[in-house]
């Protein structure tokens, strides 16, 4: 039971301070570059809501290892179990959530939603202390027991899921068992089964040991100790202490803990999904781990659709991301005291450019040609400069023409550095550019009223243009390419038309390249070819607009 409304973390591992309101939501996906603190957030949640009474903490769990500032983790929960909100438990500590504003109040009004805030404090003595807190002055905080925390059903699926397959207390299987009311009263059924097993062992004979035993018995009787009649060999109960932890799920004779990583995680999630049917919080770090893309995608899809509790996942997988909506996403950024949220205008962008969401810097490109061009630029950076956009945390996103302004703003609001690489042939878009610049967006665009294709054919040296023509001819055939250009040309193209550079010819080729439905380049792969070819001749048109754009792009990728 219970779902998380908001979270506060101080001085825990890499997080100095974080305060986040998730609101009333059942599915939360944390994204962010490696080491941004996603796992720390899940860990923090699992620590503050853990049913273990003996959580251990180390000096290294403190932010910067500085033990003089206590670790504080605070969660505010809604949808609380009734057994925790009566007067004898924590009913007198409830707070009120004003749903319209998502603010939690200590001064309760009638239409508020019930909230309990749990706080874990670890000071330099490394002794964790769980309390129920609020800001009402007349009330003293009250400690929360591990038993009560267990009622919240919070479990973390991480790399160490082996214990999830055993029946010991505090594990999800055990919680699942306890939910069956008929069983909870006599929860010894596991131990009983174990005792039966022990009896089986007792009655089985250890014949092959008898000779040795006999020697001992004989010798003992010579020395005056008569142990003859009852001496048998069996297992000492003490050494197989009755311990639920040893009783675990097996696939035939093989314990589940020996299964593959992905399967283990899925089984673990399955156990907990079953548990979460009555509410509860499931935390899954790197949901795609150990899974093929399609299985990861299926898992995310199913969890999102069928979950009754609340699920927190982290992911680096584009396949997972495309299943989600913008409101599910929260972006974690180092040293930032809150998570970034995403505007719903980016919904289309998730499906078209999932990778962009995992970057630090987004280069929003007008369309596929620009994206391709940037890829070509990236190829150049790799071979010539030994760097690449991924190292610099840069991802290219298709702005989809008319939506590019919205995407740019939404990415900016989600805390990314954003560069918009676009044309200047649409007035409506041009009108928005100055306000974007003032918000901190770097804009790399064409000259007024021009588009990328204008600059390609105006700025590139003729050799480069010839390569582009050859590329087009390879795509189609020489005659049709020539005919198309010819139709836009002021006079008739001659036999060696490709050898003579002229403005008229450039203009004709340009016009031919943008004929509706017959565009030469409106595809990412074509764009990449333009990029490759342009960069090859980079030194030859440095002073031209296209050359300057390339410099600006490289500069932004490298430095900004």
């Amino acid at each position: 039971m219970a779902k998380i409304h908001s979270l506060k973390i101080s001085n825990y591992r890499g997080i100095e301070k974080l305060e986040q309101v998730f609101g009333i939501t059942d599915f939360i996906c944390l994204i962010g570059r490696g080491d941004s603190g996603k796992t720390t957030i899940l860990d923090a949640i699992s620590k503050v809501l853990s049913p273990m009474w003996n959580q251990t903490f180390h000096d290294t769990d403190f932010y910067n290892g500085n033990i003089s500032n206590p670790i504080e983790i605070e969660v505010s929960l809604y949808d609380l179990p009734i057994s925790l909100t009566n007067e004898n438990k924590y009913g007198l500590y409830i707070r009120g959530l004003e749903e319209e504003t998502n603010i939690i109040h200590d001064d309760i009004k009638d239409d508020y939603l019930e909230i309990l805030t749990i706080k874990l404090i670890v000071d330099k003595n490394l002794e964790p202390k769980w309390t129920i807190v609020n800001n009402r002055e007349n009330q003293e905080e009250i400690e929360m027991s591990a038993n009560d925390r267990a009622k919240l059903n919070v479990f973390l699926v991480s790399d160490y899921v082996d214990k999830h397959f055993s029946w010991s207390k505090g594990n999800p299987l055990y919680s699942l068992l306890k939910q069956d009311d008929s069983i909870s009263e006599k929860n010894n059924i596991i131990l009983d089964a174990f005792r039966e097993a022990k009896q089986e062992i007792d009655t089985s004979s250890f014949n092959h040991l008898d000779d040795t035993v006999k020697k001992v018995v004989d010798s003992a009787s010579k020395l005056g100790a008569d142990i003859k009649d009852n001496t048998t060999t069996t297992i000492d109960f003490k050494d197989i202490s009755i311990n639920n932890q040893r009783i675990s799920l097996h696939d035939d004779k093989i314990p589940f803990r020996l299964k593959g990583k992905g399967s283990k995680r899925i089984i673990s999630v399955a156990i907990q999904t079953e548990l979460s049917k009555l509410g509860g919080v499931l935390l899954i770090d790197e949901i795609e781990q150990g899974l093929e893309p399609d299985r990861a995608q299926h898992l995310a899809q199913t969890l999102k659709r069928e979950n009754k509790g609340q699920i927190f996942i982290t992911t680096h997988s584009r396949d997972v991301l495309v299943e989600l909506t913008t409101t599910d996403l929260f972006r974690v950024k180092n040293n930032y005291s809150k998570l970034y949220e995403f505007d719903s205008s980016l919904q289309g962008c998730i499906r078209s450019n999932p990778e962009a969401f995992f970057s630090n810097k987004v280069l929003v490109c007008e369309g596929p040609t620009e994206i391709g061009f940037c890829r070509g630029l990236n190829n150049y950076l790799i071979t010539e400069k030994g760097i690449n956009s991924a190292i610099k945390g840069v991802r290219f996103a298709n702005g989809g023409g008319s939506t590019q302004i919205d995407y740019t703003k939404a990415f900016l609001n989600a805390g990314y550095k954003v560069c918009l690489f676009c044309d200047s042939d649409v007035q409506k878009i041009n009108d928005e550019k100055s306000s974007l610049t003032s918000l901190g967006v770097t804009i790399i665009d064409s000259d007024d009223k021009k588009a990328m294709e204008n600059h390609i054919f105006e700025d590139l040296p003729w050799d480069a243009i010839k390569e582009l023509i050859e590329y087009r001819i390879e795509e189609k055939d020489e005659d049709s390419v020539k005919a198309s250009i010819n139709s836009k040309y002021t006079s008739e193209l001659g036999e060696n038309w490709k050898d003579i550079d002229s403005n008229d010819l450039r203009d004709a080729i340009y016009k031919s390249s943008i004929v509706k439905k017959k565009e030469w380049f409106k595809r990412t792969d074509h764009g990449e070819v333009i990029g490759n070819i342009s960069l090859k001749y980079k030194q030859k048109f440095l002073d031209k607009k296209l050359g300057k754009q390339i410099d600006q792009l490289i500069n932004w990728i490298e430095n900004d």
Binding site: G91, I108, Y112
Partner: protein, 477 residues
């Protein structure tokens, strides 16, 4: 006995239960009926009431998880201190403002949906005992709780005397106020307390007197042989050779005796009697008596400079003046001739010297104990004295103000209740709900309120003595 099963089956029901007619027993029978049907909330007014109900439940082996019993105030206080966010809660010492404030705020808090959820999750039914003692504010509060679960109220309008702070009490006979409860009204008819081998004639006589009081008839005590009636002049009580004085002196041999004084407004007439009879009866103090807080405050004002005068001030607050005058003079102690007295004074003087250098509450308490041991010194207010010593020690140990220590100790008594036993003197307000083997009502003709008189009469379980100047009582004006 009423049909408990039927009584608890009603959403709202009321039981009229005269004093000693088996109300506590009825509540415990109701709980037995409700066993396993969820926790019942039982509210009453006094901690004495809480204690006696608890004891009954224990006897009846009712599991403590089946009920929660509290005073209305402490239940309300629990919620107000939990949920109220304002900073204007009056100090608890200021009981005139504190308690009405708590009830008022609780009324608002109990209207909140979230709080209602907490309460209705915790309890499945409500019993309110001594309903006649509810102020109109408390009645409103109970009414809003009554929306949450079946509610059963028990009480006796003839005992409605709890005029705390002079606030208006609920009128249990009012048609409109009690509408839904009135529709399911039950009543107890047998004077169980006296029939159970105590003094069954007294029980039947009290039942008759009750009927007379309800009809506002005169009460001719000569018609009730089970009551020992004496007609004496009021003044004779203070004159040792008069019969009034002698009868009271005789009574002081009783093991379990309550002397009831008709004047509830002032403590002095009772103090006077305690002195008169040489401390042989114990004064029942009001939990909220201001003197407890005043004396604690005096202790807090002590400095190295004023220590001598403050110690004297404390002594005069606690002990008999005439005797103190024999020991103290303007500067300090008088010179004493006898060796024994000189040693005692020397001991006290050395304590004063130590205190001048270093204020210690424990040493102040040693000083006061020393004073009490001086020849002739007595404390007529034993509870005040012992509470004060305890607060001084507590303040010293826990490094808090004596006032705070006193507030804590008074609150503790308020919460846990206290056992009143032995030979006591008190008023109807201080002893309502209590029961004594022998009760002597002095100056019974002074009772001007039928309810007070009825409460006084019904405190006795075995022997009732009435001292009056007129054998006919007319307590109606």
């Amino acid at each position: 006995m009423i049909d408990c099963k039927e009584f608890v089956s009603k959403e709202k029901s009321m039981l009229i239960a005269p004093a000693g007619f088996g109300k506590t027993y009825t509540i415990s029978e109701c709980l037995i009926h409700l066993e396993g049907k969820g926790k019942q909330l039982i509210l009453t007014h006094t901690h004495a009431g809480v204690a006696s109900l608890k004891e009954k439940f224990k006897q009846k082996k009712i599991h403590s998880s089946d009920y929660n019993i509290e005073t209305i105030t402490s239940f309300a206080q629990k919620y107000v201190l939990s949920f109220y966010t304002g900073i204007d809660i009056p100090s608890q010492e200021n009981s005139k403002e504190y308690y009405p404030f708590i009830i008022n705020k609780a009324k608002e808090i109990f209207k909140l949906k979230l709080v209602k959820n907490v309460i209705s999750r915790t309890y499945s039914g409500l019993f309110v005992d001594e309903y006649q003692d509810c102020t109109t504010q408390q009645h409103e509060l109970i009414s809003s709780l009554a929306d949450l679960f079946p509610t059963h109220i028990l009480g006796d309008y003839l005992q409605g005397i709890f005029g705390f702070n002079g606030e208006a009490l609920v009128d249990m006979q009012a048609e409109n106020d009690m509408l839904e409860f009135n529709n399911n009204q039950y009543s107890l008819n047998q004077p169980q307390r006296w029939l159970r081998g105590n003094n069954s004639n007294l029980g039947l006589d009290l039942k008759k007197i009750r009927e007379s009081i309800i009809k506002q008839e005169e009460i001719n005590l000569s018609e009730f042989p089970s009551i020992e009636t004496f007609t004496f002049d009021e003044r004779d009580l203070y004159i040792p050779y008069k019969d009034y004085y002698k009868e009271i002196t005789k009574l002081l041999k009783e093991e379990n005796l309550l002397i009831l004084h008709p004047d509830s407004t002032s403590i002095y007439p009772r103090l006077k009697l305690v002195k008169q009879f040489n401390n042989r009866m114990k004064l029942i103090e009001s939990i909220d008596d201001k003197d407890f807080y005043k004396i604690a405050k005096t202790a807090d004002e002590i400095t190295n400079e004023n220590i001598v005068s403050k110690l004297k001030e404390l002594s005069y607050k606690l002990f008999n003046k005439t005797e103190l005058d024999k020991w103290f003079n303007e500067k300090g102690f008088k010179k004493k001739r006898e060796e024994k007295d000189r040693t005692s004074v020397k001991h006290l003087e050395s304590l004063i010297e130590e205190l001048k250098n270093d204020i210690s509450y424990s040493k102040i308490s040693y000083f006061l104990i020393g004073v009490k041991e001086l020849q002739g010194i007595k404390s007529h207010r034993r509870e005040l004295f012992s509470s004060f010593l305890k607060s001084l020690r507590d303040a010293d140990e826990n490094k808090i103000l004596v006032s705070d220590a006193m507030t804590n100790s008074r609150n503790l008594i308020r919460r846990t209740g206290r056992k009143v036993s032995g030979r006591c003197i008190g008023t109807t307000l201080l002893t309502k709900g209590l029961e004594f083997d022998t009760v002597a009502i002095i100056n019974a003709h002074k009772f001007k309120c039928p309810k007070h008189l009825y409460v006084a009469l019904t405190r006795a379980s075995k022997r009732l003595l009435i001292f009056t100047n007129n054998v006919v009582l007319l307590p109606y004006k």
